[in-house]
């Protein structure tokens, strides 16, 4: 439904905008700058800062006839109010005349800026916002030039106030616009910072433990119109104008947030180019202008630190020793030759499409098996009835339904949590179906709980409520199935014009998520919610490019330890199974030939025969496929590590090394897609590209149906986005970067139409009478390889722990913070971990966070004993 259009003039420019548009936005659309501080286009207006004052005139209406009055020349008679009005709170109306450049309006701005300057310290010289500061810019543009305030009477306030260990507050600089407070309250739903005191003493405070306890805190530094809020990461590290910007994609989760990596040469790193900060880059279909703190502050693993692998390692006399590329490649090619089906290539979704394509192709050429290293299945279904091109959470509202099942969405994919929540606020029916309470419940219309282990059955119960083809339901789901809540949710889902399902892996492993995905697919097929925009199935994958891996034909093994044990040769890329679960150690018996390709010498790499050093994503080019099936490019930000002295060349524009021939020239880590290509060349296989990611992508697109038609050029296409950010007028939307490097493109759906699948296995899952079951859960801040290099977040990550219900804790006579000995019934391994108590959990349930060193890949029987 199109909104009614309203026409008006702003500073003489004619504008036509939808009814309800605010004057300030209408002006921005025609390039008229109305300065703002408190207003932010992503938030409701509050009209606090009074910066956007303009003169507004409206046509006079004849009370008798209801017709507008006209001047003698026939033009509308306009009446201006006695006062200036705030453009940020006033919606447009037909025939309105907005004047922002009159003496009166200009005086209003000058007055306001003079007021703001009475307490602002004017320490732009050392302020991290200096150079990209709205107050600085607007004062230059609209300010009075001089202040009549007596300098001696300026209020001096604390300049070094840690709100937590991540965000610092400078009380003097704060202009009380409240953007940060409102962001945390309305968008992040973590009102952990607030205003205290009043009048001129109004100040930002936090009483959360730890301070500023939110995954979204970094965004407040972007939208802060002064340098009051700064991140510990960037504080005093560089001036904004000294930084170069490289477009990138976050690789922590499947959302695929668009990033800008700001780089600069750093003396304390020996003059190397380093990433100084990570900033959001606008993509209104993906992350809008936000990123979570993991994306912003967890990038350090890609930096060129001392622990990074720099040269290939080859095992000689039982020791891993440095070797040349030639030597290492030669050895691997020789050993892979003829291994045939004895080869297993194990790679994770941390790799790009190009990497996975070349790795898969090499494995295929050798006759081996490519296995995706993941804890979550169902990608075979998301490739068929996943998000269709044109799907965008931003377009979902009334008439849409969103079902989130088996996922703690804010922990697994923060931006999706944010966008789903906003869709719910716009009127989309949000159904949250989980075994336990999550933050998303607060916004849910239907918040349903199923017994632990019964996710697929719970979805089948929804189908059951709708479809005559009733799948059998196990006993323990019957109560939920009979509830009116569930029936209401099923009905709302079925009746929605558009509907999507997000399924995650909360408390589940491969088998369970496979069943869940199948149940979800059946629900979508039953209700005809697939194959068109804003419909389909979304996997909340553990890694950034898991969807891409599935699209390229990678699949996990349902019994990986056994498969690995049986293999003759292993090629493990961007995966560290041994750290995740010591059970995998059995696979490394010393007999088989093991090649590991990674950034660091991981636990698995230590067991390898050959280790290839890989380039981090910030040193190279590539593309990821997000969970929403959007293929997005990332660009090199840093020069790759080279053992040879670096050539002085500016980053940002540099492409992957152009190799005329291999061997002697190869130096330092190589791109993950290039290494298999080198091997292929050694082995004499045709059809591999190693020279650049774009060449690989061209082959990939030619050989993979869902990618067909995509090119790097296409992925780099952009169009105008709203709100406007990142240009000279960064006061408007904050310091997020404008997207000039590509919005990406969504994959086409598989050609063959989907039909109703067989009902998944949904056997009754009963909690044991003795011991307990450990269910894996995902925490945003985990102890995985990608976060442990970011020391900033260490305090937030903490030590390994498990979560128990109150009853369970009481039974074990243990309280929050106590220690418990956790023994895995099958393997009889045991660990001592700390306990957190969640009063809502049932007995016999143990929540075990993934990537905390606990070998829980799916529901696992355990025994618990208090350990003091």
């Amino acid at each position: 439904m199109m909104a009614k259009m309203v026409s008006l003039t702003i500073d003489g420019k004619h504008v036509e905008v939808p009814e309800g548009t605010l004057v300030v936005n209408a002006a921005k659309k025609v390039g008229v700058d109305i300065p703002v501080f408190c207003y932010h286009p992503k938030m409701e207006p509050v009209g606090m800062c009074r910066m956007c004052l303009v003169e507004i005139g409206r046509p006079m209406i004849d009370r008798a006839t209801g017709q507008p009055l006209r001047e003698e020349d026939g033009s509308l008679k306009i009446q201006f109010g006695p006062k200036l009005e705030t453009a940020c709170t006033t919606p447009v109306s037909e025939g309105m005349v907005v004047l922002g450049a009159t003496e009166k309006a200009k005086a209003g701005r000058e007055d306001n800026l003079e007021f703001l300057q009475t307490s602002h310290p004017l320490d732009c010289l050392i302020c991290d916002k200096g150079g990209e500061c709205p107050l600085q810019n607007l004062t230059m543009g609209f300010g009075p030039g001089e202040s009549r305030y007596l300098y001696d009477e300026k209020k001096h306030l604390a300049k070094h106030v840690p709100l937590g260990e991540l965000i610092y507050l400078d009380r003097e600089r704060c202009i009380q616009c409240g953007r940060c407070v409102r962001f945390q309250d309305l968008i992040a739903a973590d009102p952990v910072i607030g205003f205290s005191q009043r009048g001129r003493s109004l100040q930002i405070v936090t009483y959360s433990e730890p301070g500023f306890d939110s995954y979204w805190s970094g965004n407040t530094t972007d939208i802060c119109p002064v340098g009051a809020l700064t991140t510990t990461d960037f504080r005093f590290r560089a001036r904004p104008w000294e930084l170069r910007a490289a477009a990138s994609i976050c690789n922590h989760c499947p959302v695929g947030c668009n990033l800008t990596l700001n780089v600069r040469r750093e003396a304390v790193s020996g003059g190397k180019w380093v990433v100084k900060r990570v900033m959001p880059r606008q993509n209104e279909a993906v992350n809008e202008i936000w990123i979570c703190d993991k994306g912003r502050l967890g990038y350090h693993f890609g930096r060129q630190n001392a622990e990074r692998l720099k040269k290939p390692l080859v095992r000689k006399n039982g020791e891993l020793q440095s070797a040349t590329w030639e030597e290492a490649l030669e050895l691997v090619a020789e050993r892979f030759q003829g291994v045939g089906s004895g080869l297993i290539t194990l790679a994770s979704g941390r790799l790009s499409n190009e990497d996975l394509f070349n790795l898969g192709k090499l494995t295929q050429s050798l006759g081996g098996r490519s296995l995706l290293y993941t804890s979550m299945a169902g990608g075979d279904l998301t490739t068929q009835i996943g998000f269709a091109p044109g799907t965008n959470f931003a377009d979902m509202g009334k008439e849409s339904a969103i079902l989130v099942v088996g996922s703690d969405l804010e922990e697994e994919a923060p931006l999706w949590w944010l966008r789903v929540r906003q869709a719910a606020k716009r009127g989309a029916t949000l159904i949250v179906l989980n075994a336990r309470n999550t933050k998303l419940d607060r916004d849910a219309h239907y918040s349903l709980r199923f017994p632990f282990g019964m996710a697929a059955a719970a979805v089948l119960a929804l189908v059951n409520a709708l479809s005559p083809k009733r799948p059998e339901l196990p006993e323990s789901i019957q109560e939920l199935a009979r509830s009116n809540e569930l029936k209401g949710a099923a009905k709302a889902f079925a009746e929605a014009k558009d509907a999507v399902i997000l399924f995650g892996s909360d408390g589940m492993g491969l088998a369970e998520t496979q069943a869940l995905a199948q149940a979800c697919a059946n629900l979508l097929l039953t209700t005809d919610h697939f194959g068109r925009p804003n419909n389909g199935l979304l996997g909340v994958w553990p890694r950034a490019n898991d969807q891409g891996a599935w699209e390229l034909g990678w699949q996990p093994s349902m019994n990986l330890p056994a498969d690995l044990a049986q293999a003759q040769a292993l090629y493990i890329v961007a995966a560290d199974p041994v750290s995740d679960d010591p059970a995998y150690l059995n696979a490394f018996d010393g007999q088989k030939f093991v090649v590991v390709q990674d950034l660091y010498l991981s636990q698995t790499a230590r067991l390898a025969d050959v280790v290839f050093p890989a380039q981090s994503w910030m040193e190279r080019e590539g593309s990821y496929t997000s969970g929403e099936r959007r293929v997005q490019r990332y660009y090199p930000a840093l020069q790759p590590i080279a053992a040879l002295p670096p050539r002085v060349e500016s980053p940002g524009t540099r492409r992957a090394p152009l190799l005329t021939g291999l061997r002697a020239e190869l130096d330092g880590p190589q791109a993950d897609f290039a290494i298999p290509a080198y091997l292929a060349e050694k082995l004499g296989f045709e059809g591999f590209a190693h020279a650049s990611a774009s060449l690989v992508f061209a082959r990939l697109a030619a050989e993979t149906p869902s990618f067909s038609g995509l090119t790097y050029q296409k992925l780099a296409e952009v169009h105008e986005q709203w709100p406007i950010v990142g240009r000279a007028d960064m006061y408007y939307g904050g310091t997020a970067y404008e997207n000039t490097q590509g919005l990406g493109a969504q994959l086409a759906l598989a050609q063959n139409g989907a039909s109703l699948l067989s009902w998944p296995q949904a056997a009754d899952f009963k909690l044991p009478k003795l011991g307990g079951i450990a269910f894996p859960i995902t925490r945003l801040y985990d102890r995985g390889a990608t976060l442990m290099h970011s020391q900033l977040l260490h305090k937030r990550i903490g030590e390994p722990y498990i979560v128990l219900g109150e009853q369970e804790a009481n039974r074990l006579k243990i309280s929050q913070g106590g220690f418990v000995r956790l023994t895995f019934t099958e393997s009889q391994q045991s660990v001592v971990v700390q306990v957190k108590v969640d009063k809502n959990l049932p007995e016999r349930v143990v929540l075990a966070p993934r990537s905390f060193g606990l070998p829980v890949s799916g529901p696992t029987p355990v025994e618990l004993k208090s350990a003091g």
Binding site: I126, F236, E242, V268
Partner: protein, 176 residues
Amino acid sequence: MSLVKDALDGVKATFTGLATTFREMVSPPVTIQYPEEKRPVRTRFKGRHVLKRYDNGLEKCIGCSLCSAACPADAIFVEAAENTDDERYSPGERYARVYEINMLRCIFCGYCEDACPTEAIVLGDNYELSFTSRRSSIYTKEFLLEPVPEGGKPTPQKVEPGVYTRSVPVMKDPED
């Protein structure tokens, strides 16, 4: 006639020339015994940069990088860090952890001096700028900083908390 006149003119010219020679023979020499002896520079001469200190020894440079931004030759590199009261280099929060000028690039325009909000960088008298490698053409902060004045203490200093909270001192407008 003309011959005689020519001869006389020749003689005259010779003596005129010799007069200059004799005069210069007795006037003091222009050359000096550089490097033992050095000629003073003009007051507005722009020589090698000096990073200034306050009387108490704290560095004037606050690491704001404005000199680097102003430099048309991109010769200056500044890397800042945060002061603490236990380890204080300059007043306020920020100081220059690294300050380098590439003298191969510097064109002695003095823009850095103009840009400096704390009068920390000053183009001094020193014009002896020879170096033997590209590496040594990069002058570091340690090299550029002036010596600690008498009565001052070297940086970093341990200071009373809360005394040096302002980066920029309140300065009078320049009077000249």
